[in-house]
């Protein structure tokens, strides 16, 4: 039977762990609210942007003069996977599930004889991908100094991706992130951003616009921005998902710590009783022997 002193220390340590997880849960809850607000505020822009883009994309269609960002390069031999994860751990399966999806895709593409390049955003994704797919990594974006993701961060990533595209480094670009559904459900998602794909049905029934400059001029101007907009939306979804995942993970941890404290307390009381009983027996038998 464990020594009383040890048990007491164990209980104290689990109690302080519980305090930490509880605090982390509350911090995550506050951050989640902010992240959700940010995502909410960005929604009008993204929706409008996608509306306009799908209208434009539908009218320019597959014309051979359409920009490469929309039409593609005509091949799909090289894929760039942009894996967006968190900078921190302790958020349940959040990072792993994104990485898992990316790994599945990479393995599938490699099996088809395609070339895979991986760009990681966020420390955790890089760490997890380094072992199996380190050789495919072409870059990493560090966001650990960023307190709150802004459009500027998305623009930086987009600029990097676009420079690689212009340099002919890849044909298809897919981003991996986690879509925020609720605190208990975050869905890892893969979204193709180059060549751009838009919902076709959104364009039907659209108004006939005058374009200034030409349709294609506008498209050429907007498509690169579209990459940034989609990355920004993904970053925001990811930020909300991360906090949601951390909140439920920490809630579980707090509950587990509570159970553990209960079990340990029972064990502690039992052994204390046993020690007292033992001492009594010794005293009584000692007295009888006299």
């Amino acid at each position: 039977m464990a020594n009383l002193k040890d048990l007491k220390n164990r209980i104290a340590s689990v109690k302080s762990t519980r305090k930490i997880t509880k605090a982390m849960q509350m911090v995550a809850a506050a951050k989640l609210r902010r992240a959700e607000e940010a995502a909410e505020m960005a929604r009008p822009y993204t929706e409008k942007f996608n509306d306009v883009m799908s209208g434009l994309a539908a009218s320019v269609g597959d014309s051979p003069t359409a920009p490469a960002l929309l039409r593609g390069t005509g091949s799909d031999a090289t894929h760039l996977l942009v894996v967006i994860t968190a900078e921190r751990g302790l958020c349940g399966g959040f990072n792993s599930s994104i990485v898992k999806l990316a790994k599945q895709r990479a393995t599938k593409l490699l099996g088809e004889g395609k070339t895979v390049k991986i760009l990681t955003v966020g420390k955790k994704g890089r760490e997890q991908l380094r072992r199996d797919f380190g050789e495919y990594s072409v870059g990493h974006v560090d966001l650990s100094d960023v307190k709150r993701v802004g459009y500027v961060n998305a623009q930086d990533i987009a600029r990097d991706v676009l420079a690689r595209f212009d340099g002919g480094e890849f044909d298809v670009c897919t981003i991996f992130f986690s879509r925020f559904e609720s605190v208990i459900s975050q869905v890892p998602t893969a979204q193709q951003i180059i060549p751009a794909s838009f919902d076709a049905d959104a364009s039907s029934g659209g108004t006939l616009y005058d374009y200034e400059p030409s349709e294609e001029g506008i498209l050429a101007d907007l498509l690169p921005r579209g990459v940034a907009v989609q990355i920004f939306a993904a970053l925001l979804e990811n930020a909300a998902s991360e906090q949601g995942a951390r909140m439920s993970a920490m809630d579980n941890a707090t509950r587990n710590a509570g159970e553990m404290i209960e079990d340990l307390t029972i064990e502690y009381n039992r052994s204390r009783q046993a020690v007292i009983t033992n001492e009594l027996i010794e005293i009584i038998s000692g007295a009888e022997a006299l």
Partner: protein, 131 residues
């Protein structure tokens, strides 16, 4: 004829304005244009400049840098990459943006060079009008 239309100004991070307006002056890529209610539908890209909105309660000005505007008979929606209220406090933000653009303009070459230089020139012009 309706005398007001819906005006929305949104940036990627938040929505800056959403109210009725009687006229919106837009710094479009190929020259300023003013949109009024029942304007024919137009889609245009923006250059850095002052966006001036006349509403029932007066005029408000915003500094915008790039993006696009969608004009329909019922309203005008401006999607600006960055937008600030025209206010001396926001000068610094645009100045920082100008520095960035200058740096970018020296780095790019070829067909993008002209566009980058024009962007810088437009920003300088915009700064002149910010008080």
């Amino acid at each position: 004829m309706a005398d007001t239309m819906q005006f929305d100004l949104v940036s990627p991070e938040r929505s800056l304005a959403s109210h009725p307006a009687t006229a919106v002056q837009i710094p479009a890529a190929e020259g300023d244009m003013t949109a009024m209610p029942n304007h024919a539908p137009v889609l245009t890209t923006l250059r850095p400049g002052i966006l001036s909105v006349t509403g029932p309660d007066g005029t408000s000005d915003y500094a915008v840098t790039g993006g696009f505007a969608e004009i329909t008979p019922e309203g005008t929606t401006v999607l600006a990459e960055r937008a600030y209220e025209r206010h001396a406090d926001n000068r610094a933000a645009i100045e920082a943006h100008l520095e960035e653009a200058r740096k970018a303009a020296t780095e790019v070459a070829g067909e993008h060079k002209d566009a980058a230089e024009k962007f810088v020139a437009d920003l300088v012009h915009l700064l002149d009008h910010m008080q």
